[in-house]
Subunit: 145 residues, 2 copies
């Protein structure tokens, strides 16, 4: 399975030029905890998340309508590509304490946004299926079968 | 396993009287996405989360130092107790789209805060162990053993 299949069909993103308020409105509209911030070519410039709002805006008294999202976004140090396996992405996110990881193409263009929650849920599905198959094998062909 | 074992040892909470700014500072200090809001007896009055900051504060222009957390908190409709099983808590949270669920004692006193992430990680651990045991059984005693 490609990591892209674990992303929302239509990735939530804003251009670097927009205000933090516009990015917050998009997060609220789309019920997501983070949006990708992209340049005019669609390449990832950063991520803007609920955590950024909490850390860099909520206590500052700054007006989000007048604050460019560029000044508050987190610059991602890690990116996934379509060839990153879900297990790899999950390991990176657990280790680095990321909740979101952008998926990009070869030119750095944003294709999707992975969330740790989707990856954890997928892992549970995979393990449950493996367990079911193995249980079925034991029941049908095993010592007691 | 009790749900309490899946909570942080020392639950992050604030009194209903404090400002939203105090609650935000606690979230930042403790690296958590939500704090419990409790009355003078320690009973849960609500939860205050990053999502509440985004939805009810970030675009309003309100000063968080002058805004009581009570006015922005979410009143929980669901609570877990020490007898709630982790699987039950996870089902509630997935179905209702909660990220956090307070654990209370019989008098409604806050004992801990469950996060969906901790529950998902625990479920993965449990499934992995089950799978390991079953694989070991198949290897040692099964048809090929």
């Amino acid at each position: 399975m490609s990591v892209l299949e674990l992303c929302d069909a239509d990735v939530a993103s804003v251009r670097v030029e927009v205000s933090a308020a516009d990015a917050i409105r998009l997060m609220l509209d789309r019920h997501v905890g983070a949006v990708g911030v992209v340049d005019s070519e669609g390449r990832v410039a950063g991520i803007f998340s609920e955590r950024d709002v909490l850390r860099k805006l909520s206590l500052t008294g700054r007006n989000p309508e007048l604050t460019p999202v560029r000044e508050l976004m987190t610059t991602p140090v890690e990116l996934a590509t379509i060839s990153t396996r879900p297990g790899e992405a999950l390991a990176i996110m657990l280790e680095r304490h990321f909740r979101h990881l952008p998926v990009v193409d070869n030119s750095g263009k944003l294709l999707g946004m992975l969330s740790i929650r989707n990856l954890l849920e997928q892992r549970i599905d995979d393990l449950s299926h493996e367990l079911d198959s193995l249980e079925q094998y034991v029941t049908n062909d095993g010592p007691g079968g």
